[in-house]
Subunit: 305 residues, 2 copies
Amino acid sequence: VSRPNAEFSLIDWFRSQASAHDRLSVGIGDDTASLRISDCNRQLVTVDMLLEGVHFRIPDVAAADIGRKALAVNLSDIAAMAGRPTAAVVSVALSRNHGTAFAKEMFTGLKTLADEFDVAIAGGDTNIWDGPSVISVTVLGEVTGSEPVLRSGARSGDWIMTTGSFGGSLLGKHFSFQPRVTEALALHETVALHAMIDVSDGLAADLHHILDESSVGAIIDEQSVPISDAVKNDKSPIERALGDGEDFELLFTVSDDDGQRLLSNQPFDVKLTKIGVITESNQCQLRNASGRMSDLPPRGWEHIF
Amino acid sequence: VSRPNAEFSLIDWFRSQASAHDRLSVGIGDDTASLRISDCNRQLVTVDMLLEGVHFRIPDVAAADIGRKALAVNLSDIAAMAGRPTAAVVSVALSRNHGTAFAKEMFTGLKTLADEFDVAIAGGDTNIWDGPSVISVTVLGEVTGSEPVLRSGARSGDWIMTTGSFGGSLLGKHFSFQPRVTEALALHETVALHAMIDVSDGLAADLHHILDESSVGAIIDEQSVPISDAVKNDKSPIERALGDGEDFELLFTVSDDDGQRLLSNQPFDVKLTKIGVITESNQCQLRNASGRMSDLPPRGWEHIF
């Protein structure tokens, strides 16, 4: 979800204030935090809040889809760390207008997805009010392997790869997407993931997060970017794929050897694609079919949703 | 905060749906959940959401007090398990009307209390919208000693004890209260806490939670209940103390030996008081100065806030 500037500057301020704590092995600024807590070294935690009128409109969206998405976006964040989600807590402010049937459907949508990923619902806070509906979900996860996969590990020469396809998520996928938890765990077992993020802001914007955190550059091959069916007939499918966001696919980097192995093995149903390479420069560039380079900014196109 | 009936029935329904999971060593229904997560056996988690117009009104309440309370109520829940709070994640929907200064003050109120209790701010989700302000805080904690202290361990013959005093919290204390984390940890080290809860619904209502979960009864001595200065001149101070709620003091039961020790030692600044005893009956009774018994229901008096 794209954010207005006031929100970004506030977020920056909050981050500057939420100073480092020795209990945070990964603090604010990656997909989730990672906590060092006494005997329990490897706790991931992330939170996301969905708001009526901002992230969804009623009755345009089914209540079950809202509940499902509120959990799914968090599972996607846990996946981006190659973590295994374990438990969720849910706080809601339910609009009096929508009634209890709506609330139950919303919960059922959430619970169905929780069951699918074996996530325990560990608590909640339920409120009814006169305001628009709000749902906030916190998800805990455990680190798999020796370390969580951060945004900061990309190296020059790495292949840049993705799961699935991009663009047009707001036509439906942003409510029905499957968080790539299983795929991230399989990748983490198979290869050395150098850097990983889930694509929520947009393919270009989230690539820039990896580049910024890793202090590297990239060249993306325009022809290689997997385009969703939803935007294949759009007037500029590549712009939609790079800019739309809310795809909730994985964007990650690996060595060329590992990359080649993944491409030839295709270890699961979701298609893996190489879309470019990490470079030593500090530039992020897009290479078109004829080899011409252009700058690829984090947000090449205004998108409104 | 007292809740209308629609909320209670929804909460019951959610609880019935959020079925037991083998990762939940303590599920929904106590002050916090306790999780069994791979190497990390002793994870407490709790969440609380505060809503503008329901739990606070602006500008009646300072922004810093709202942020502080949003964390403090969760710390109080962790205290009620004799846990040690470790980390918090915060999601907010900020009303566009209040501006960024308001948001920063709210965060500062929260962060100041977090620092006081050495709680790491591990993440957040910041949104600005046209609706009323919402803040949801999830707190993680670690179990201390061998087990968390539940509501279900009270035994016939136990002394019923409290920290601090009761009644009139809404005149101010409900924003400024000190969560009894330090006191709970000290108690847990000193004596065998059989059952414990933090008083949010009201002294009588929360006592009933212990009695229900422990399948025991109680006799409370009206004269012994510590009355807050705020209601000492009220027309019925005892009714205020038993019914007002939001005191965020600890209510706990211990053996008579341990109780006597605590009374004579008074191990910290916050006063410990014996207010009654646990009985084998299924009744909860109030004994007045002349020894006359009356029923003490969970909510003897309507209270509106």
